[in-house]
């Protein structure tokens, strides 16, 4: 199973500013001074092996979209934030415009999780088949509405692909595109749903837009069981724990601290920080990752959890 991240930002798409690009260039030039970077090959090697991630890369700015790739012919995605635009273009460039089947598991219908769909080019091409799965009663309405006037120039009815909406029941287990899929209700405005996806002895949990108030031990334990022994937990860590319990209480998001604790309790193998705060630049996100790794280290008992931070383009092989 390969997990591929096409969009990792929370709330709204963002882009690097000119000032941030300049800051990276200056940092790279200073670090590279006197290192004999006279050829492209040597410069590439320096960038790949020696520069800090926050200088040589960006976490990216597309909103939620994650692909679960098991090598089958059908595509499986979680959410259609702005990252799905890049995914759709990539599929069409690599394998042509038509003849594809997409299975899309929707966490909920807030803008940042659906706004890529009007720009998902395979949806406009006859011969493609799209199945959108979700537990919300109004999923179809939300997807159709954002393509409607006065908000968008091309109506949903002009999408040429065969598009189906499949209602799921919370807590039930399904087989979708050869994967075993279980849903879980999460605390978020208007509700959201997490997905536990299993295939060939591997398990990934997609749990975004989920607030953990920790005022109910049974609720905590239910999430621990949902995460139990997962190979990867993709976890909403948009806020600090202090913010989540104070000024941003009831805003529907969680923290790196709760992610670490839940994965420790569940004995999950990897925690991937996800749904990044849009005001955080690359340096801030890299610092968040380093802090979270440190937290895991100083609070570890006998079980180690590998800590990762999602970025647009990250691939994790399970």
């Amino acid at each position: 199973m390969l997990v591929r991240f096409w969009g990792t930002r929370g709330s709204i798409p963002v882009a690097m500013s000119s000032a941030e690009v300049k800051r990276k260039l200056v940092a790279a030039l200073v670090q590279g001074a006197g290192r004999g970077l006279h050829t492209e090959a040597r410069a590439r090697e320096f960038v790949d092996r020696e520069l800090d991630f926050a200088v040589s890369h960006t976490f990216g700015g597309n909103t939620s979209c994650v692909q679960i790739d098991t090598g089958g012919s059908d595509y499986v995605l979680c959410d259609v934030g702005s990252g799905v635009r890049v995914f759709g273009n990539s599929v069409m460039a690599a394998r042509g415009p038509t003849g594809h089947t997409f299975h899309i598991l929707m966490s909920h219908m807030h803008w940042d999780h659906i706004l890529g769909f009007p720009f998902f080019m395979p949806a406009y091409v006859p011969g493609n088949h799209i199945r959108l799965y979700g537990c919300h009663e109004r999923l179809e309405e939300a997807i159709r509405r954002q393509n409607a006037a006065p908000s968008f120039p091309v109506d949903f009815s002009r999408m040429g692909a065969e598009i189906e909406f499949v209602r799921l029941e919370p807590g039930r287990e399904y087989e979708i595109a050869g994967l075993r899929v279980r849903t879980k209700l999460q605390r978020h405005g208007g509700d959201s749903y997490g997905y536990r996806i299993e295939h060939d002895g591997r398990a990934v949990v997609y749990s975004t837009d989920s607030e953990h108030k920790q005022d109910n031990p049974d609720e905590v334990q239910a999430f621990v069981e949902f995460f139990r022994d997962a190979d990867l937990v993709i976890f909403d860590s948009q806020y600090s724990l202090a913010d989540a319990h104070s000024v941003k209480e009831d805003w529907g998001h969680s923290s790196n601290v709760v992610g670490v604790e839940m994965c420790q309790l569940a004995r999950a193998r990897r925690l991937c920080l996800y749904h990044h705060e849009p005001i955080f630049d690359d340096e801030r996100l890299a610092a968040l990752l380093a802090e979270t790794r440190r937290l895991e280290e100083i609070t570890r008992a006998e079980h180690r959890v590998e800590i990762l931070a999602a970025y647009d383009g990250l691939e994790i092989a399970l």
């Binding site: 920790q214 031990p217 600090s240 724990l241 790196n256 604790e261 440190r294």
Partner: protein, 124 residues
Amino acid sequence: MELSSKRLADTLILCPAGRIDHATADAFKAALAPFLATCAEGRDCVVIDLGGVEYISSVGLRVLMLASKQAKAQGGGLGVCALQPVVREIFEISRFNLVLQVFPTLREALAKLSAQALAAHDAA
């Protein structure tokens, strides 16, 4: 998790010990409750001395947040002090050092919260 207490003038010094985690946070919350009831304007200040706490989880931090909110609503002063290195790091990573009054030592907490208690502390 154990909680001992002592009074210095108008200030209650509360000293939990051990781990404050999913297993003990409810007991910690219950133990704090009677002391928080009097943490109000014109009455007591509360200092929670964490010197004996080796670990605090998010649930334990939530208890401190609720205590701080209650004290603030009642017009009382509440601070925490003497964090062990691991607990201090947990405070910093969770950003609780930005939303609670955190002091390196008990004396510094008293200096901020109560002149009477500081005098009693220095005289002892």
